[in-house]
């Protein structure tokens, strides 16, 4: 396996940064997230980052096109294309799986989302294996292998003081070639994953939920929810968005930005009709979407067990507890 000392990673990023925008896990203002590598950036490689890589492909706020509207006149203008290849280093298996989920949403079922596709096509993904699950991690329960993710161009392995690389795709092989001089070929074994603190038994849950829309369980589960969007905004798979305009005089820009089924305005119609009027309907939709609707539509769960919502929910509305309640429900 080709390896490099962790202490030498900045050198490696530096080298790649000559040709690519290199996103790496970093700590900025106390929050860990993916950020373009630059000298002096504080790397965050010990555990997964709080903010998932989702926003690299699907930014929280994204400009879509410009327009000019004056009296009866209208002009619609595309934005100049973004260019340049980007490397995303250190994507954990849960987040690689989430990109697989996002690919399904944005690239399949008849319509291709051009904004997402463009960023996705310009990206090279380097996965990073996990050794010690964080205490809210439960990826293995959701069918994710913490040591090897799906869809990476290169899989990197945490070898303690070193990182090992294995090229998966042609793009990955090519990229590894560019940093070859920094790598050492040596025999290395990938350490086993330590025990998970949190687990979930998902077996049969999507099928069971088919008959649980009217189950009293939702009256109970929803009660402590505050209908904020912490869960959705730290989630690597939540992908709902709103489209809005920013207007200054005659000029405007259409933007899209993250939205969530927790918010009232999300489904409220212009005439006032609200198909999901309260906490119960919204909480139910969130978990149904993750555990039943998405599997029905795309044949995969919309939860990768990254544990971010468990860690950040203000009221500890824990999806593994919800799964357990669903399993136990009569």
């Amino acid at each position: 396996m080709k390896t490099v000392l962790k202490t030498k990673l900045p050198e490696l990023f530096e080298k790649l940064a000559n040709n690519y925008t290199v996103f790496v896990p970093a700590k900025i203002e106390g929050i860990s997230r993916f950020a373009p590598y630059q000298n002096g950036l504080e790397l965050a490689l010990e555990e997964n980052v709080l903010m998932p890589p989702k926003d690299i492909f699907f930014p929280q706020t994204e400009k879509m096109y410009k327009f000019k509207a004056k009296d009866q006149y209208l002009e619609i203008e595309d934005l100049p294309p973004e260019e340049g290849q980007q490397v995303i280093f250190g994507v954990r298996s849960c987040d690689l799986k989430s990109i697989d989920c996002l690919d399904q949403v944005f690239l399949t079922k008849g319509f291709v989302d051009a904004f997402y596709q463009d960023k996705r096509d310009r990206s090279i993904l380097i996965g990073l294996s996990c050794v010690k699950p964080m205490e809210n991690c439960f990826c293995s329960s959701m069918g994710v292998d913490p040591q090897k993710g799906v869809g990476a161009d290169i899989q990197a392995y945490d070898l303690g003081d070193k990182v090992g690389f294995e090229a998966i795709t042609e793009k990955g092989r090519e990229l590894l070639g560019k940093i070859e001089t920094l790598l050492v070929e040596e025999a290395a074994s990938v350490p086993a994953v330590e025990k998970f603190v949190l687990t979930a038994d998902i077996e049969g849950v999507p099928e069971k939920l088919k008959n649980m829309f009217d189950h009293p369980i939702w009256d109970d589960i929803c009660r402590k929810c505050l209908n904020c969007s912490v869960c959705a905004f730290v989630c690597p798979t939540c992908h709902c968005f709103d489209i809005a305009s920013e207007v200054r005089g005659e000029d405007g820009t259409k933007i899209r930005c993250w939205d969530t089924c927790m918010f009232d305005e999300y489904t409220r119609m212009a005439g006032g009709h609200q198909p999901r009027p309260g906490k119960k309907e919204r909480v139910r939709n969130r978990f149904m979407h993750k555990l039943r609707y998405f599997p029905e539509r795309y044949d995969m769960l919309l939860c990768t067990g990254c544990g971010r919502c468990v860690a950040k929910c203000p009221v500890n509305l824990d999806i593994t507890a919800v799964i357990r309640k669903i399993k136990e429900a009569e």
Partner: protein
């Protein structure tokens, strides 16, 4: 099990068995030992879920808004800050006193969840930041009471030690430095609205931030919209903030929201005389009425 927890469960059981309330809202153990999230108990046999420990952070009075149109009474446990939140809602006529049974529980000061997670179960875990400066650990209003009120001299000492040094540190900055400081904080705001949704002062039926179609605030996440959000929310809760610190605790981006709130509290104290929201239900709100002695330099 501590005596307090036993007592808690006894009272809850009695309330449910006698049918005095249909639901008792308290705290229960969550995913980890340092989490004690809200619990909703409907049946006497479920009261054993209830706990009282170092991590019962959630301000339960917020949930009373969900029961405004509920038949029958709701029973909730209140710490000092929860009771102030209750008073605030009562003062605004958001809830009815006789529809709520309050079970007061004096608070010893809760512990920091992040530090607990970091240091482990056997370590000496520091108090949560929001609890260090607490001046109202005892419930101000209750129907049932558990345990003993915290010694008054201790409470008085905390009052004496009222500390605005963090606010003063910001006040000494130049306008540009202040701007830079707050811009940096709110640049990372996700606008998830957890701060608003957990806040007992945020009790408007329709919130300005939900009315994006009207155009008061854009949905885009950028510096100017985020600042507008931060400032508007701070001004909206000015004079109403009961300093439970929940906004800052739940913020996933660790934004020092209480620093903004404290600045406004400090200014209100200075301009209109010392005021603690949610203490006196019958009193007038400092920003809710006009007094001919109000300062009016801005006129």
């Amino acid at each position: 099990m501590s005596d307090k927890v036993k007592k808690m469960q006894e009272i809850a059981r009695e309330i449910l068995e006698k049918g005095e309330a249909k639901v008792v809202i308290g705290w229960e153990k969550g995913t980890h030992w340092y989490l004690s999230p809200p619990a909703f108990i409907d049946k006497p046999e479920e009261v054993e879920r209830l706990v009282w420990d170092d991590f019962c952070h959630n301000n339960l009075s917020k949930y009373l808004k969900d029961y405004v149109n509920h038949e029958g009474k709701v029973a909730i446990f209140v710490k000092g800050c929860d009771s102030r939140a209750f008073n605030r809602l009562l003062q605004d006529k958001q809830i009815e006193r006789d529809k709520v049974i309050l079970i007061g529980i004096p608070c010893h000061g809760l512990k920091d969840q992040d530090k607990a997670k970091e240091l482990g179960e056997n370590a000496d875990i520091p108090k949560a930041k929001k609890c260090v400066e607490c001046r109202y650990p005892n419930p101000l209003v209750y129907d049932y009471f558990i345990g003993e009120e915290k010694a008054l001299d201790e409470v008085a000492a905390a009052s004496e030690a009222r500390d605005f040094s963090d606010v003063e540190a910001i006040e000494t900055l130049s306008p540009d430095e202040k701007y830079e400081f707050w811009n940096k904080q709110y640049e990372r705001c996700l606008r998830c609205y957890a701060c608003r949704n957990v806040c007992p002062a945020c009790s408007c039926r329709e919130c300005i931030f939900d009315q994006t179609r009207v155009g008061w605030i854009g949905k885009a996440n950028n510096a100017s919209e985020n600042q507008f959000f931060a400032l508007t929310r701070a001004m909206h809760v000015a004079g109403l903030c009961i300093e439970c610190g929940e906004c800052e605790r739940v913020c996933p981006m660790n934004i020092p929201i209480m620093l903004l709130n404290k600045k406004l509290i400090k200014d209100i104290n200075l301009l209109f005389g010392p005021y603690d929201a949610g203490v006196d239900v019958d009193g007038k709100l400092p920003l809710g009425h006009f007094d001919k002695n109000d300062p009016e330099e801005f006129m």
